[in-house]
Amino acid sequence: MPARTKVVTVKRGLWENLYLPEIVRGLGVTLKHFFINTLGPKSKRQIVTIDYPDVVRELPERYRGVHRLNTREDGSVRCTACMMCATICPANCIHIEAGERENPASRDIEKFPQVFEIDELVCVVCGLCVEACPCDAIRMDTHVHMPPVEHRKDAVLEKPELMSRGTKSIAVDGGAGPDWRDKYTDLGSLTQIYRPDHIERDRERPARR
């Protein structure tokens, strides 16, 4: 189907065709907004830009930020190197090498990731890794932008850095058992949310004038 077009003829009088008076009028519009937004009363200001990074916009709750790896009770990483995230990743940005624990206690999980790397430059921030993770190990709920890096290799986040944002997960390894409904009546209260320091700091600090 061809695009339908409508021809509109703009009638210009002599005043418009003189060019300069209209330029001055346009400048006047711009200047009006400039003075309202800088000197005018706060209620009338329409400015949408913020002083990032001194001011940080509040992100939606499910915003997908930089990855993190959650930990267990004992501080070890929850990830068991099952490769679900690496398998589903459409960008192939997750590299995991599995290892076996030296002397596990009888009920410990034997497998853990020796190497866990995410190339944040390759990542397409789709969040499928979080969906796929059966262990609540990988999450993207950090509310942290990937900071700009000077060298590409700096964008490859390794296990210690990913774990530095990790918190203890509420999920129970191997499931909470058959009576989990009785044990956990209020699931919301058990959630530990990661709050980057600078967000809290910036909330309290007024915007720079």
Partner: protein, 538 residues
């Protein structure tokens, strides 16, 4: 494990399955017959190579109102059964839930995930959370049961396939069940370990991840692997195998799932032969011990061999390799007899090691001794003959194909006295140290080609598949090339034009020229496929 005899055509009888009539061979195992018909039936304990245990009760069918395991039933005349009715499906679902009562469902860290029968049936048939709400029985985990194998008794669903395998196939009853009922546990028999030479087959036939391979444990998830069909080069038996690899690295070798010459089994030593592919390898041609470019190496051969060709050719020796493919040996033999007119042709092989048995393994550790002999026109000298001829100064030049030539220090010293020693080998050795020109060769997992299996077998004769076909799983390292390709290039610099584009072309020529290979088959094209997309496994 029946004798290889012409079986009489079985009598066909009429069987009614879900109200539909089918003609099935009388006396056949009902489960097998149903699977052949394409019926979707779940089972754990049944294995076509083992006796019937009927312990998992997963293959239930309804016959005259009662649930009967189909693996324990034979096809008989007038049999009426239900295979997909709601009652039967519900019975199977309940059996599956029962099987899962004590299973830890730790697929996350289980090496079997992706090729696990329990996982597959659960996804196909059930897919709902368990309604059983008492604690699972805790059993030993990570038990070191054998040289190659770790046992996780919790994952075991007590199908007894491994127990039957050890008794019936490996003839070494290493595994037993202890305790009863809910606490029944797989363990090793008193004073025994799972150390028989076929133990890794129990890992393959385990429908869950109870028995896992120490070498493969936690290395990679199975769906990430690529499978290439090839032939094991561990001994003269030449078992069919699937080489599982990824990114140029081989992770394991398993017998192919389809019923083939090695009855779905492989020996433990054979499975480990993949390690030598990644071993220290020759990656560049060497001329007098120094790395050289391809052209320089070939020029060095030409320069040193041409004066000899003008003289008495009886002083040139060629050594065929018992580890090289039929095509490689055919090219080497052609060069030896037709072009060089070499006076001495030898065969380099390893001596019999006495490790053979009447299951699969042969005494002869060379993959292709028979093929090398088949290419020869006349008798081949042994390595002792070679040592004697060297001591008697009968040789002036020697061309060695393959890695199997093992000479004493004294004989190796005499090699330096020759005008030219060319060795085509894949690994550095004492021989390559002494050679004037070394050409890096590709190994079995890197080439197309055929090998000749020893046809006489203890339990059945499979002369139909006397030739095994190798397909490349990984790229050869550096400048390594197949033996036949090096021989072609050496021929080219010496002025013999040999127009072979591929190993297949060499094979066709060989089949035409050598009567020994008249019946050889190149084999169909079996593409390398990622296990993720290779259909159902487990």
């Amino acid at each position: 494990m029946s004798e290889h005899e012409p079986t009489p055509t079985p009598e066909l009888v009429t069987v009614k399955i879900d109200g539909k009539e089918h003609q099935l061979p009388k006396g056949k195992n009902l489960l097998e017959a149903l699977l052949d018909l394409g019926e979707d039936i779940s089972y754990f304990c049944y294995h076509p190579g083992l006796s019937v245990a009927a312990s998992c009760r997963q293959c239930l069918v309804g016959i005259r109102g009662s649930m009967v395991p189909s693996c324990q039933t034979t096809v008989s005349d007038g049999l009426e059964l239900e295979s997909q009715s709601p009652t039967v499906l519900d019975a199977r679902r309940q059996m599956l839930e029962f099987t899962l009562v004590n299973h830890p469902v730790d697929c996350v860290i289980c090496d079997k995930a992706g090729e696990c029968t329990l996982q597959r049936h659960y996804m196909d048939w059930d897919g709902k959370p368990s309604e059983i709400d008492h604690e699972k029985v805790e059993k030993p985990k990570k038990v070191d049961v054998g040289r190659e194998i770790v046992l996780d008794a919790e994952r075991c669903i007590l199908c007894s396939r491994c127990v039957r395998f050890c008794q019936e196939i490996a003839e070494s009853p290493d595994l037993v069940f202890e305790y009863r009922g809910n606490h029944e546990t797989l363990t090793t028999a008193p004073d025994r370990r799972l150390d028989n030479s076929y133990s890794l087959n129990t890992v393959d036939i385990c429908p869950v991840g109870a028995l896992t391979d120490k070498d493969f444990r936690f290395k990679i998830r199975v769906w990430e692997l690529y499978a290439t069909r090839s032939v094991c080069n561990g001994c003269a038996a030449g078992c069919d195998t699937e080489v599982h690899h990824r990114d140029g690295r081989i992770y394991r070798m398993v017998p192919p799932k389809d019923w083939d010459m090695n009855l779905n089994w492989m020996c433990d030593d054979g499975r480990r032969t993949y390690k030598s592919v990644a071993a220290q390898r020759l990656t560049r041609p060497l001329v007098d011990g120094e790395p050289a470019e391809l052209d320089a190496a070939l020029a060095a051969i030409k320069e040193r061999l041409e004066p000899l060709l003008a003289q008495d050719r009886g002083a040139i020796g060629v050594v065929l390799g018992a580890d090289a493919s039929n095509e490689d040996n055919f090219m080497a033999a052609r060069m030896a007899y037709d072009f060089l007119e070499a006076g001495h042709v030898y065969l380099a092989d390893s001596p019999d090691n006495g490790l053979g048995d009447d299951i699969l393994r042969r005494d002869d550790p060379n993959p292709n001794r028979a093929g090398a002999r088949g290419c020869a026109r006349g008798d081949l000298g042994s390595s002792e003959d070679l040592a004697r001829d060297l001591a008697d100064h009968k040789l002036e030049a020697l061309y060695v194909v393959g890695d199997r030539l093992d000479l004493s220090d004294e004989t190796l010293g005499q090699l330096r006295g020759l005008k030219l020693v060319v060795v085509q080998a894949s690994e550095p050795s004492r021989l390559t140290d002494k050679a004037h020109v070394v050409l890096p060769a590709a190994k079995w997992a890197e080439v197309h080609g055929t090998i000749t299996r020893t046809s006489e077998r203890a339990k059945r004769d499979l002369s139909a598949s006397r030739f095994g076909r190798m397909r490349p799983a990984v790229e050869p390292p550096g400048m390594a090339r197949p033996h036949w390709d090096w021989l072609k290039r050496v021929g080219a610099v010496l002025g013999v034009t040999v127009e072979f584009e591929s190993a297949h072309a060499v094979f066709q020529e060989m089949k035409k020229q050598v009567p020994f290979f008249a019946e050889a088959q190149w084999g169909g094209k079996i593409p390398t496929v990622m296990l993720r997309f290779a259909g159902r496994r487990g």
